[in-house]
Assembly symmetry: C2
């Protein structure tokens, strides 16, 4: 079974992201707009209780973080993916690192770019057109995220929330 960890922003930011995703993101129907904190990983139903317990510990160690979306960017030429760039900060980096401890199999190979996807799997031409448009429209939105969600994936590709964890930082 596939699991993942994500943060869902406020309704306002989700509605804005969806106004683009509706047209430009084929994953629009599978999950609401989110910032991935830990990409999809395999675990079976028995392991997940341990994962949830470890995430509970992380939630006690890690504090709420500022999500500041500052501009529209792209992962091109790696993939034709457009996103709201989220400014990295110490809290986000610490949370991401804690979600990639040895328990979770260690850090990912690629560096972490906090973002909210608004378009993907675009053709080269469409990618260039849409990026030019959305870069002009821009984004400047700031909010505080005080929770993270553990999700699992259904056979049709959609994601269901298993549990939420409030970031309290109580154990710091």
């Amino acid at each position: 079974m596939n699991y993942g960890v994500a943060a869902f922003p406020s309704k306002k930011l989700q509605d804005l992201a969806n106004s683009y995703r509706k047209r430009y993101d084929p994953h629009y129907e599978l999950i609401t707009p989110h910032m991935t904190l830990k990409g999809p990983f395999e675990a079976d139903a028995s392991t997940i209780k341990d994962v949830a317990a470890e995430m509970q510990n992380i939630a006690k160690r890690q504090k709420p973080f500022k999500l500041h979306a500052t501009r529209v960017s792209t992962f091109s030429p790696v993939t034709n993916t457009l996103y709201f760039k989220v400014e990295p900060n110490a809290e986000i980096a610490a949370l991401h690192e804690d979600l990639h401890s040895d328990f979770f199999g260690g850090m990912p190979k690629h560096s972490f770019v906090p973002h909210i996807t608004i378009g993907q799997k675009l053709s080269d031409t469409e990618h260039a057109d849409v990026f030019a448009q959305l870069k002009m429209a821009g984004i400047d939105h700031e909010e505080v995220i005080d929770r993270m969600h553990l999700l699992y994936q259904l056979e049709d590709g959609s994601w269901t929330v298993y549990e939420t964890f409030r970031l309290t930082g109580d154990d710091q």
Copy 2:
């Protein structure tokens, strides 16, 4: 903003429900398969913290419950909605009642029929056809649900999980 409270069953039961919903439920893309515990209600962003706090109290009072889906049924002639009937039991009734206290505006007008929707907004002919088929296919699935989710609705109609609450019954 619209809020609601639901329980999401296991991946197995969700996958089964989705195999029908994909064809027969126009809300298929808006939310994954679920049992509604409290239908949509209005609250603004400031109130929701109080709602979440009250749900935390409820989660301490209420125990995990058995979800036993026993057959395919219909809300016809009221609406052409097909669903997995969930056997009522004391735990489900108590949880539902606690979610409709005076704090939440009291009990709903209609009696509570625990269910997981698998088809809706069908024409009369389609409803009759599909119901005949699915009644034959039937369902007999039992599991324990130990959590409930508070959700809110985005402008496009889709639902995002705000928070999960584990039913512990610790305060009983």
